[in-house]
Every structure is written in structure tokens, then in C-alpha cells.
Amino acid sequence: MKQTALTKVHKELGAKMAPFAGYEMPIQYSGLTDEHMAVRESVGVFDVSHMGEFMVRGPQALDLIQKISTNDASKLVPGKVQYSCMPNGKGGIVDDLLIYKMADQEYLLVVNASNIQKDWDWIQQNNNFDAQLEDISENITLLAIQGPKTAEAMKALTDVRLNEMKYYTFEKGTFARVDDVIISATGYTGSGGFEIYFDNAHAEKIWNAVMEAGKGYGIKPAGLGARDTLRLEKGFCLYGNDIDDSTSPIEAGLGWITKFTKDFIDSDKLKKQKEEGVARKLVAFKMIDRGIPRKDYKIVDADGNELGVVTSGTSSPNLKVGIGMGYVKIENAKVGESIFIEVRNKQLKAEIVKLPFV
């Protein structure tokens, strides 16, 4: 089992640890709801160092990225980040990822922990360009400091003007007296904040500085449990749940990051889907009957006919109601439509809603 540079710190804090994507990761500390609310209302910090990071460099770095990803990376300038996904050549998704333009001919790709090897192989396989790849995943500590008070709480740690940074931009700067930290105005919680990338050697020093700086704001360490409820309330897709090798970006509602201004793997196939429509669609729903939807529960109509399957579900800590996402036939995908979720042989009523939930 792999560990992050902070595993010891999490254990000392009494975190409940569990295996995730080959890493021993903190699932929760003080309690999922408590951590969730700290992020929604103030600030929380996640160790997400299990995520993968690849550098792509060279005269044709952009050409490689344009080929493998759906979003248009030619629109990036140094200091900008883009959300994108990689089609698998069969209309499905290899992974979703963030693309950072570090400099001309230099990009950082941030991928899901569970897909590091698969992504690496896939990108190598498609690299018929003058582009060099380097997997730096094992050297990088990634902290997600999230919540509306993050900029205020962390401002003393850096000269970078956190409060002026726009969403999906980044700067390289000094943070907690450590040089060359990537400070990125991104995150997976929908509550604002930053993700910071730095060398493992500084992990404990920066963690302690973040906790200290956040003290007056009630900062809480938060685990993967809260990370999941926070992202689901905002309707962000999770690879392995809501998107995978069998779902297309169009079905998943990722048309907004699928740009036909360029050619890429599956661009013809996906363009056709966009023009002609798809047979199923990822929808968000809220429970009307009391119940908590969970991954793989069946979605049925009033007569019990199967419409699809739940891909993510939880009890929303903010709304105190069951929420979920899942694929249903396109004719049943309208907002306001009633659907039913099979929960232990009962059919519980739910309603398709617009995202975000919160």
C-alpha cells in the first residue's frame, strides 16, 4: 500500500484510514458532516497527493494534448488551467483531468489516482509527436485548501494575492516559505479555495503552516468522505462512478468541455452524438420519499420498468435529503420528471433536478 508524505500526520490526527487507488488515504477525521460543513462555511484541507501529475514538454507538447483531450488547449495561456477529458477511441472516457499551461511548450496534466498507469500508457501510445512525458506523481504533495474563507485565512502564508486570483488560474510562488509552490484557484468542492502542489520534502512543514494559519477560521482536516459529498452536491463527475470507459462526454453532460474547433481522438464520433443526440443522459435527482440513493441502485419508472442506474448517491449534508446522479433513457431525462429508485425492494420516488444541488 502506498502512502503520501502526510500519512503519519493523518494517523496522528486520528483519521480513519482506508485504501483508495492503492494509497492509504484519510477517509474522515472529526466526522463527515462536520468536515463537509467546515468546507462549505469556512475552510478545510484535504491531502489529495494520490492524484497523478504528468509533465508534457517539447515543441509538439500542445499537439499531443490537442489530440488526446476534448477541450481546446490552444486557448490556454501560461497561468491558466483547463478541465478536460480524454476519449478512449471507442467513444468512452479514459479519464478526466486538469491541464495547466506552465509555459510555452510545457504543460502539467493532473489525473485521477486510480488511472495513473492507464493514462500514462494511453498518452505514451498516442505520442507520435515531438513531446516528452514525465510522471512526477510520486514526488508531488497536493493539498486542496477549500472553502469561502480560504484566501483570507491563507493570505499571511504567501505574497501571491489569493483574493484576486480568478477561478481556474494559477501562480507559482512562495507559500509558507517554500519556493516554487503551484498555487491554483481550482478544487472539487464548489466552495472556492486553492489547490497547492509542491515537493514531498515540504509536506509536513506546509501542512502545519496551513493548519496554523486556518486556526482562527476553524480550519478542519477533511477526508475523502467529505470530498465526495461536497463534489456530488455540485454535480461534479467522479471517474469510475459517473464517467468511465463506457460513457461518452456528451452523455455525461461534458459537452461544454468537448470542443469541435480541433480534431482529437473520437472527435467525429462525439460530434455526431452532439448533432444527432444520445440515447441516454446523466441526470441529477433528489429524493422525494425518504431514502438514500447509492451507486448501482436501479432507476425505474412508476411501473417498475428499468430506466437506468445510479452512478453516485449520498445523503446531502447541506440539504439533508438523498441526492444522486445516474444515467437514464433520454426520453426520461427531463428536469421535473418523476423517477423511482429501487432501495432494497422498495421503489422510492425521486425527481430529476437541475445541477448544482447546492
Partner: protein, 125 residues
């Protein structure tokens, strides 16, 4: 982990308090901690006579759902009403306010099959 010595336990992480022929049943401190924040407890077996090991309800936590198993054969004679409005009582006070059901024990000799506090402690060690 709190494991009160006066109670009996099961491998399914339930506790049993026997008073005469009535058993009060709940989940252990270990169980509530493993489940995490409990959203609600669903028990629709009041009045039913159930065998040992049969499901008498389910606990829905934010992240997971778990069945509740009868530690002992008998009739479910009461369900704790408090946990309907305050499911968090199961997290906060699993051996007190967060008890789940009362069962009229059919065969009192079955109590001997339950685990002692020490045996349960070994179980979760």
C-alpha cells in the same frame, strides 16, 4: 472504544441488555464509529416475531447502509421513537438514548450464546 462490561454483544456489533424476559438492543460504539454520521434508522418490524440473525431494520449513514440483525429470537415489542427525530443519538449515545428496539425473548437460555464484553473487545481488537 467504549464497551460497557454489563452488556452482552454480537459479532454483528450489536449490544443486548437483558432485563427479565425483555432485551434492549442497540449498535455498539464501534459500529456507530465505523458507520459514520447516521442519517436515519428504518425499523418496520414492530410486532414481528423474528429468528436470531434475521434482519430487523437498516441503518442509513451518509456513506453507507447496513442491515440490523436480531441478536436473539423473539418479538419486537418496541422501537425507540427518539431515533426517528434524532438519529444522531445513535452516534452520540449508542448505549443510552440511541437504543433501537426492545425484544420479548422467546428462550432465555439463548442469552448464553451472546458475547461477553471481554469477548467482544477481542472481536474488535
Amino acid at each position: 472504544m467504549n464497551v460497557p462490561s454489563e452488556l452482552k454483544y454480537t459479532k454483528d456489533h450489536e449490544w443486548v441488555k437483558v432485563e427479565g424476559d425483555v432485551a434492549t438492543i442497540g449498535i455498539t460504539d464501534f459500529a456507530q464509529s465505523e458507520l459514520g454520521d447516521i442519517v436515519y434508522v428504518e425499523i418496520e418490524t414492530e410486532g414481528d416475531s423474528l429468528d436470531e440473525g434475521e434482519v430487523f431494520g437498516t441503518v442509513e449513514a451518509v456513506k453507507t447502509v447496513s442491515d440490523l440483525f436480531m441478536p436473539i429470537k423473539g418479538e419486537v415489542i418496541e422501537v425507540n421513537e427518539t431515533i426517528e427525530s434524532e438519529p444522531e443519538a445513535v452516534n452520540d449515545d449508542p448505549y443510552g438514548k440511541g437504543w433501537l428496539i426492545k425484544v420479548k425473548i422467546e428462550d432465555s437460555s439463548a442469552v448464553e450464546n451472546l458475547l461477553s464484553a471481554d469477548a467482544y473487545k477481542e472481536e474488535i481488537a
